[in-house]
């Protein structure tokens, strides 16, 4: 195994043009703003954020389903952002995606066998049109996700959400990808099904050594699967680090607020916990606030937060955080906030 990351994303920026009709002025929405991260081989990186934080846009830009406005995405030595057409299709087997909604990610007019076989057929891996061999491959794939040959000649509408997500996973692993992008892959499922799918994903990872880019809004789920975590807010990564450090002693007030929203199974501990609900909504990316994007909702906001964008600084225990509290303010640099009572700024 080499030390170079499998996926290397540098200064990724994705913008959408809004309006631009005859009379409406064109407006630019920056959904992802200068995001950098990497995923090592066999590792699970979770990207976490609330709705509108740009996490799904990051997934789509990495998959080149969206054209990034700036930045580069390197996968296993290939610069995906420089590829297009046939050259891009040729590297697609290395990265596959599972989508959030299993009800719309499977073509309702196709049999399960055809859906799972499609990646193999499209990439000419159907072994010279040998239908029986392809059928066997599809069956093996379905067995790997806990389904079987009996499900091959059925249509998607005959399956439950969890089963559909298994089919989507079977399709994604058909090409033996090195990286799987899971965009809220378990969010649409109920909790018991979520656990089954998460176990399946963990199982597949140990067997194949794939890396996961796990997009989620649910820190409770992320805690179980992630090796490293990146927290996004308004199109930027505000904190990254090993999962143990993030869940043990996070450094960014936003991460702290997210963590305090994860329910605690033990009721006594849940009651003892100081819950910090976040005030207000995530700001509109059309009119981003000045300085730190989080300052309007931050319980520790200072003057400097309204003026200057904080830079990423390294944190003890690994990772980095973009917060002025690390360098100035009432707390000393790097001191964990969790133990303190918030003082008015």
């Amino acid at each position: 195994m080499s030390d170079r990351p499998l996926l290397e994303v540098r200064d990724l920026t994705v913008q959408f043009q809004l309006g631009g009709g005859l009379f409406a002025p064109k407006r630019t929405l920056t959904a992802v703003n200068g995001v950098s991260f990497e995923v090592m081989r066999g590792e699970t990186l979770a990207i976490v954020g609330e709705s509108g934080s740009g996490k799904s846009t990051i997934a789509r830009a990495v998959m080149r389903l969206l054209e990034p406005a700036a930045g580069t995405v390197h996968l296993d030595g290939d610069n995906l952002t420089a590829l297009s057409g046939a050259a891009l299709r040729a590297v697609r087997p290395k990265l596959q995606m599972v989508f959030q909604d299993p009800y719309s990610s499977l073509d309702p007019s196709k049999l399960i066998a055809d859906i799972v076989a499609e990646p193999l057929v499209v990439h000419g891996r159907a072994r010279g049109g040998d239908a029986a061999a392809l059928d066997r491959t599809v069956q093996t794939l379905l067995e790997q996700v806990g389904l079987g040959a009996v499900h091959m000649n059925r249509y998607p509408y005959e399956f439950s959400g969890g089963q559909r997500q298994r089919i989507a996973i079977a399709r994604a692993i058909a090409l033996e990808p090195k990286l799987m992008v899971l965009d809220e892959a378990v969010s649409a499922l109920d909790v018991s099904t979520q656990n089954q799918i998460l176990n399946l994903l963990e199982d597949l990872r140990t067997r194949t050594g794939m890396a996961y880019l796990f997009i989620s809004h649910d820190l409770g789920v992320v805690q179980h699967v992630a090796d490293r975590v990146a927290i996004t807010y308004l199109g930027r990564i505000v904190e990254t680090g090993p999962a143990a450090r993030i869940f043990g002693s996070c450094a960014h007030p936003y991460t702290q607020a997210l963590l305090s929203a994860v329910p605690e199974p033990n009721p006594r501990r849940q009651r003892a916990r100081r819950h910090q609900p976040l005030a207000g909504e995530i700001p509109s990316p059309l009119a981003p606030p000045s300085g730190c994007p989080f300052h309007a909702r931050c319980p520790h906001a200072m003057d400097v937060c309204r003026r200057e964008m904080p830079a990423h600084t390294a944190v003890d225990g690994g990772g980095s955080v973009a917060c002025h509290l690390q360098t100035e303010g009432p707390r000393l640099a790097g001191k964990p906030l969790a133990a303190d009572t918030p003082t008015p700024p």
């Binding site: 998959m63 389903l65 891009l88 299709r89 040729a90 697609r92 087997p93 596959q96 995606m97 989508f99 959030q100 909604d101 009800y103 719309s104 990610s105 499977l106 073509d107 309702p108 007019s109 196709k110 499609e118 990646p119 499209v122 990439h123 806990g146 389904l147 079987g148 009996v150 499900h151 000649n153 059925r154 249509y155 509408y157 005959e158 399956f159 439950s160 089963q163 298994r166 989507a168 399709r171 090409l175």
Partner: protein
């Protein structure tokens, strides 16, 4: 993972047939159209008389045992003429719909898939076409190409094509937003593959409904144009042309226009009813209720 119902798996076609079978009225309409098509195909064997054979001793007669639908101004048997005219009328409707499909469907798909300026260009061209008064445009096309049934049907096809185009664009737009199209893209399918394998199979259902209804519209348009003398030319005859010529004897022999007129009305009604039935049975089914 054994909680899948033991019900046998049904393909889309089987499901459609199961639902269509419950539409009694549509089944009648379909039966009527099948009988009509058979009668048209086998007209030379079914018709009691030669449709061109004149009998000047019996002109403009009403219905009788010898001539069920009466005779026309030259003593020709109206029943035989209606049967032979059905070939022309049905063929004309099919022709017009095929032309409309050929002109309307591909650009509709392209506009829906590509979007942007391609879409804008195609839609503005369609708007321009639709802003012409239809009858004037038909007459203008026939004036340029010369009066004949084929030319009249080209005109009707051109006039009907914008609706097919808009229908295709609208359904393609909604299908193109579906995650499974994005998924196909992420797998590495080419745009052509996505259109053929994922978009087309999911947009044809509403098209069938429109085809059925437009076959009726085309038949009415053919009747109108032939009535005006711009469509079918003698000695060939369509139902519309028969009404057009029988119109002169409306006071003496109303049966001359009643029977071809009824044929038009019932056939168009059958096509509309069939369209309704198709729409009700082709509707998207997400999950079986049973």
């Amino acid at each position: 993972m054994s909680d899948v119902a033991a019900a046998p798996s049904q393909s889309g076609t089987v499901r459609f047939l199961r639902r269509f079978r419950r539409q009694t009225l549509s089944l009648w309409a379909l039966g009527f159209l099948i009988v009509l098509t058979l009668l048209a195909v086998f007209a030379p064997w079914v018709a009691p008389y030669d449709p061109l054979q004149q009998d000047l001793d019996h002109v403009l007669e009403g219905p009788s045992a010898d001539h069920w639908f009466g005779t026309d101004e030259l003593g020709r048997d109206v029943l035989s003429r209606v049967l032979f005219a059905s070939r022309v009328s049905l063929l004309a409707a099919v022709q017009a719909v095929l032309i409309a499909l050929a002109i309307g469907v591909p650009p509709g798909l392209v506009a829906g898939m590509w979007g942007g300026w391609v879409d804008a260009l195609i839609m503005r061209a369609t708007d321009a076409l639709m802003s012409f008064p239809p009858l004037i445009l038909a007459v203008a096309i026939i004036a340029v190409l010369g009066p004949s049934l084929t030319n009249a049907m080209i005109a009707v096809g051109v006039l009907l094509s914008p609706t097919f185009l808009r229908l295709m664009r609208a359904t393609t737009l909604s299908v193109a937003q579906e995650t499974y199209v994005e998924a196909a893209q992420s797998i590495g399918c080419t745009r052509g593959w996505i259109i053929r394998k994922h978009v087309l199979p999911n947009v044809v259902s509403p098209l069938f409904v429109q085809i059925s209804v437009f076959a009726g519209v085309a038949m009415l348009a053919e009747a109108g144009l032939s009535f005006l003398g711009l469509g079918t030319q003698p000695p060939e005859s369509s139902w519309g042309a028969m009404v057009g010529r029988g119109f002169r004897y409306i006071a003496h022999a109303p049966s001359l226009i009643v029977f071809p007129g009824l044929a038009i009305a019932v056939t168009v009604l059958a096509l509309y009813v069939l369209g309704d039935g198709l729409r009700d049975s082709l509707g998207r089914e997400t999950r079986q209720e049973s």
